[in-house]
Amino acid sequence: MRESLVQIGALVGKEFRLEWRQRYALNGMLLYIVGAVFVCYLSFNARRGQLAPIVWNTLFWLIQLFTAVNAIAKTFVQERAGRQLYYYTLASPQQIIVAKIIYNTGLMLVLALLGFSVYAFVLGSPVEDVPLYIGSLLLGAIGFAASLTLVAGIAAKAENSATLMAILSFPVMLPLLLLLLKVAKNAMDGLDRSASSDELMTILAIDAIVLALSYLLFPFLWKS
C-alpha cells in the first residue's frame, strides 16, 4: 500500500516535470483560458452592464468546460506509444490513472483559479460567497479531471480524437456541469450554505462514481 502510494507520487511528479519541460503546452492552455475570457469580455462589451448574473455565471462555466476538454484531451496523446508501453512495464494501470487524475485535477484547479481571477477582473464579480464559489471550482476540477481523463483515454485510442473527445465528453460532463452551475449560482447570490448542501452532496457522489469507474475501467483501456 505504502509502496504503491510512493509509486503514484513518483508518477504525479513525472507528469509535473513533463509539463514543465514542454512548457509550450502549459503556456498554451493558460493563454487559451485568458484568451477565451477576453473574447467573451470584448464580445459583450457593446452592452456593458447588461450582463445579467445568470449569464455571467453560465458563460464562466462554459469557458471552464471548453478549457477542460482542450486541456485534458492531450493527456494521453502527448507521450509516444513506446513510452506508454514502458510505463506499462513499470507500474500498474490503476496507479497510472490515479496519477493522471491527480495531476489533471491540479492543472484544472490552476486553470480555474486563473480563469476566475481574470474573468472577475475584466467583467466584474457579482459573487457574494467567494469561498463557496471557489469550493465549487474545486469540486468541478475533481469531477472534470476524473471524467475527462477516462474519456481522453478512450478518445486517444481512435485516430480522429479531437472530434471524438468533444462528442464523447459533452454528454458525460452535463450532469456535473448542471449541478455546478446551480451551486455556483447559489454562491453568487449569497444564499445560505444549507441551500446548496443537496447539490454539493450530489456533486460529491457523482465525483465518487466517476473516480471509481475510472479506477475500475482504465485497466481494460490500457490493455489494448
Partner: protein, 219 residues
Amino acid sequence: MKTNWWKALAVIILTYTIFWGLIGPTPRQPILNESIRNVYFHVPLWFGMITLMLTSLVFAVRYLRKGDLGDDMVSVEFANTAILFGILGCATGSIWANYTWGEPWPNDPKLNGVAVSMLLYIAYLVLRGAFDDEQRRARISAVYNILAFAVFIPLIFILPRQTDSLHPGNGGNPAFGKYDMNSQMRMVFYPAIIGFTLLGVWITQLRVRLRRLQLVMEE
C-alpha cells in the same frame, strides 16, 4: 414452442394492451382526459428502454471479463434497440405533452436528460465506427458503455427530482400511480411494461441472429 413461449406472450400482452388500452375504462381527470391512455404506451417504452440499456451494460461487462466477441455484438444490439425505444418514447411523450402541457417540447429536466442520454448512446455508436480492429473496438466501446450508463442514472433519476419538473414523481410532484391511476388502469399498465420489454428483447434477438448470419456469409 418450448423456447418461444415468451414471444407468444409478448404478442398476447401487446394485443391486449392496444385493445383494452384504447377501449377500456379510465378515470376522468381534468386536463388529462382521454390522453391518460398514453400511460400504457409512453411509460412502458421508457421502462423497456432502461431494461434494454441495463442488459447492454451487463453484456459489456461480460465482454470485458471473458473477451467473447459474441457478447459485444449482443451488447451493441441491445443499445440499438434501446435507442429505438428512446426515440419512440420521445415521440409518444411529445404528442402527449402537446395536448396536456401545451407544447411538444417543454423545457423539462427529464426531457432534456433523455435527450442527453440519447446523445450519449449515439456517441457510443460513433465511437464504435472509429475503430477497424474488432477486439479493440469491442473493448473500448464496452468501457464507454459502462460510463454512459453511469451518467444516464443521475440524468434521469437524480437531477429531475432536484429541480422543478412537470413529470409526475419529480420535483415534488406525486408519482402517477398515487392519485391518477385506478386498479383498472393498473390491469393494463403492468402487463404493458412486460409486453414492451419482451418486444424489445425479441427485436434484439432477431437483429443478433441477422448479424450472426451475415458473419457466416462473409466467411
